[in-house]
Amino acid sequence: MSMRTRRSVRAGQYVALLCYLIFLAFPFLWLISTAFKPAPELGSLHPTWIPQHPTLDNFRQAFDEQPLLRAAANSLIAALSAGLIAVLIATPMAYVMARHRTRLSTAATGWVVVSQAFPFVLLIIPLFLVLKNLHLINTLWGLVLVYVVWALPFALWMLVGYVRAVPRELEEAAAVDGAGRLRTLVSVTAPLLAPGIVATALFAFITAWNEFFFALVLLKTPEKQTLPVVLTHFLGAEGASDLGPLAAAAFLATLPSLVLFAVIQRRITGGMLAGAVKN
């Protein structure tokens, strides 16, 4: 390839990358811009990218209009419990799936794949009936139960990848030294797995924090509802004046998962890679 063609290829690549960056960023920048605009600017027929008179009024108004703090607390409780419980019960099972080729682990792997394909409506109707009989409708614990099971497939998938990345030889060495199975698991494997377990828990947290469908169906009263459901209440009356608080609340609701995701992103993609490569 001549120097000149190579240089023009590079230039083309940069232009393409720039287009991608704009496409990825612009809606988010617009959300932020809208969140900081005062009411008169929101009503303007010629909106600008940069707020002329930036204000925090929209945030104040958002908290006044809807029980956002309560909703955030609910989301936090549901997502934290789901993340913790999911990894607590998934880790041992993932260990067995990764290390032993039994009929059970084959079935579990099959279930992980199949469970991705089912429309949730087929799951939510019976779950609704079951939870209703247990008097768990409109309670956070009912939602947590659903989130735990919902998080299990990908928790298992990620964790199996992490377990496989731990060299077997280490465990065998411990076994030779006379350590029992559980002992080996706790003192040799678990510490090496810890970063993967944390990443999986955080990922389960993020998905539960973001989840909407189950929460919409299972939680009836505003004081029980999670953040995504409460956000949709802003959509009720669609006057131009509501755009600001809507944007402010939406922006706030995104921050926790954005920050957490930025922290664990490398591990998640690493886990995906490990799973893909080891296959």
């Binding site: 990825l24 019960i89 299990l152 949709t232 490569v277």
Partner: protein, 310 residues
Amino acid sequence: MTLASATVRSGRDGPPGKGAADRGAGTWFLVLPALIPILVLSVGPLLYGIALAFTDAQSGRTRATQWIGTLNFRDLLHDGLFWESFRIGLVWAVGVTVPQFVLALGLALLLNENLRMRWLARALAIIPWAMPEVVVGIMWRLVYNPDAGILNETIRDLGLGDGRDWLTGLATALPAVILVGVWSGMPQTTVALLAGLQNTPHELHEAAALDGAGAWRRFRTVTWPAIRPVALSITALNFIWNFNSFALVYVLTNGGPGGRTRLPMLFAYEEAFRYGQFGYAAAMGCVMVAVISVILAVYLAGRLRGGDDR
């Protein structure tokens, strides 16, 4: 639940266990804490859900639920609205999955090059990925807003006319929500494809380049065969997820205008939780699973038989 299984393939490669004695009670002790919830709250309800499709179950009714055989399915067959939403679901799923794949492949190829703004692209790609779908929907409503939105303002600035009310226009609503779907799912697909690309042996590329193969030739003969398995599974999964999606369109249009964006999940949700027709909605779920499975089986069989993928 979107990314982790993006590259799921059957993972049965684990070396055999150390021996039967080792797998006894201890294994069950490790497995049961996860297995019981899975059976009670996932497998069980799924079977229960399928069973409900053959009953006249309704919410808040005192009279006992009865078996009605295939009556729900026969009704569904004649339910024009359902099949219309099914058609919209297919258009939406294909309309999102295909451009998403093309764009993601382009971005993955770029990110695989040694470009200077790579880190920025990676950082930005987090945004659609980590955002709640509800927020993505709200955000794009702000973009599409006929008066105060940036899209129409840009159109006006470029002198392309006055812009329009994208989400409520009969002709524009579906394309408008499809664009949002493409945007929100692109990063996951990109990362999965990038993972595949990074497995491609670099030497092969160089050898092909030395032999005088152009960029397209090298892509066809070296890159594509290496990422084909990942590409195949991510496309199949994306198609299913998109067909089954709910939150995004619920927030953007809630199925409107005039049902033009009413995806099957929205239809089934309304049937179940607004009109209380549990049995009928469950039957819809069954039909969705069945048809999607058939489509996927045909697609996968075709692609696998395609061999070298011409």
